[in-house]
């Protein structure tokens, strides 16, 4: 993380030693971008760690739409800028200024676009309800009744927890889409494309609904247990 600042310090020393500042302009620009990315990523990472610690002490609220704050994206975006700025600094250091701009642009687009499309495709917001978990994709939502959650499969360590939700009866999930339009159903169908027999598995990424992965996993398990106490056995 300190690399761009070391680079900037070196550029400063080079200017002090008599190198024309104009020659180092593009290099400094990329190093600044990289440094900015490092700072943003580090600060966001700390804020997320604090958020996770706080959430692990509190219960997840029910009947409230839990939203994912947009600043959460800054951790990955900052990391991306850090790496892209450093790589783009290499051709800039060799005097290939315009090539370095191409490198920076391509890295940002090729890495940021998949990140954004993942955020678009995954359920961003969640509402815990008595009847089940409501998953929101913008204005579209669908209901996952607790009894249709057959398994919660954790992936990764506690501090970086994502999980697969294994759901039964894909057709019922799609039928619960609101608003009940063809385009809304198509969006839910795309989300639920990983079929398992008549069911489906759904990867719940980091910080879905702005909730720490481990907290979310435990809250969903608690919802399932509550359902099993009210009615049939746990699947």
């Amino acid at each position: 993380m300190a690399l761009p600042f070391a680079g900037l310090a070196t550029a400063g020393l080079a200017i002090a030693a008599g190198v024309r500042p104009a020659r180092l302009g593009m290099l400094s620009f990329h190093l600044l971008i990289s440094g900015l990315g490092a700072v943003v990523s580090r600060l966001t990472g700390r804020a997320l760690a604090r958020r996770a610690r706080r959430q692990r002490r509190e219960a997840v609220p029910w009947d409230v739409r839990l939203r994912r704050p947009s600043w959460i994206e800054l951790e990955m975006s900052g990391m991306l800028l850090w790496g892209a700025g450093l790589l783009a600094a290499l051709p800039a250091a060799a005097g290939l200024s315009s090539v370095s701009v191409g490198v920076l642009l391509t890295l940002v687009v090729m890495v940021e676009v998949p990140l954004l499309s993942d955020a678009f495709m995954s359920p961003v917001d969640l509402t815990f309800q008595v009847g089940g978990l409501r998953m929101h994709l913008g204005a579209v939502s669908f209901q996952v009744p607790w009894e249709l959650i057959t398994r919660v499969e954790p992936v990764g360590p506690d501090h970086h927890r994502v999980f697969n939700l294994h759901l039964a009866d894909r057709a019922a999930l799609i039928a619960s889409t609101t608003p009940p339009t063809a385009s809304a159903r198509a969006r839910v169908e795309r989300l639920l494309s990983m079929r398992r027999g008549s069911g489906v598995s759904l990867l719940v990424p980091l910080w879905t609904a702005g909730v720490d992965g481990l907290v979310l996993e435990r809250a969903i398990e608690a919802g399932r247990r509550q359902e099993s106490r009210r009615g049939g056995a746990l699947n």
Partner: protein, 205 residues
């Protein structure tokens, strides 16, 4: 100009390979899958995906170059090429390179190793993904699959473990993308189901 030419060539190759794949898919519907032969995706078929990437990437570079930013376009092309090549290398290490249908089971070949999924170990075969372009087989015993890994090194075992996704006790799933072994997903799923049925019959007799 050079970028536009590369983009055009990529687009032509993509269209031709897509047509050839469609014809191949139709032909495969009527023919049985060959056994005891390592089935691989032909080079021209693999070129289809690469051509798509090249066509889009060079097209974007051509637009930037047309505005006079040739250096920027060169930087884009270099980065695009390196990223694509790097991703292909990484993915190539994990994906199945070939499949062999044998009387013992389905032999899955990787870059440095192979494993055997015995027919009687297969619990189900499904087509999944948004366009039904993925084949997923459920195995009853992941341990039996891991025990068949050859050669057995830490690296090959890690590769095989990665293949066995979605573990639930002894059960695991193995996924194959479309055109693994040069077979369309539907053909591959049918062939594995047939193999598993054959294995069941052999076990009964």
């Amino acid at each position: 100009m050079a970028f536009a030419a590369v983009a055009a060539a990529g687009a032509v190759v993509r269209q031709v390979t897509l047509l050839l794949r469609r014809r191949r898919e139709r032909a495969q519907r009527e023919l049985p899958v060959a056994w005891n032969v390592a089935l691989r995706d032909p080079i021209w078929s693999r070129a289809s995906d690469a051509a798509t990437v090249i066509a889009w990437g060079s097209g974007a570079c051509a637009v930037v170059a047309a505005f006079g930013f040739v250096g920027v376009a060169v930087g884009m092309a270099a980065t695009f090429g390196l990223l694509t090549f790097g991703m292909a290398r990484v993915m190539g290490g994990w994906e199945a390179r070939a499949l062999t249908f044998t009387s013992d089971g389905l032999r899955v070949h990787f870059r440095r190793a192979e494993l055997l999924v015995r027919w009687d170990n297969i619990d189900g075969v499904e087509l999944t993904g948004a366009k039904h372009h993925l084949v997923e087989i459920t195995v009853r015993s992941a341990e039996a699959v891991l025990a068949s890994v050859h050669p057995r090194t830490a690296r090959t075992l890690r590769q095989a473990t990665y293949r066995l996704a979605d573990r639930d006790g002894p059960i695991a799933r193995i996924m194959f993308s479309d055109w693994t072994a040069g077979l369309a997903a539907a053909t591959l799923a049918r062939a594995i189901r047939d193999g598993a049925a054959r294995g069941d019959r052999a076990a009964t007799n």
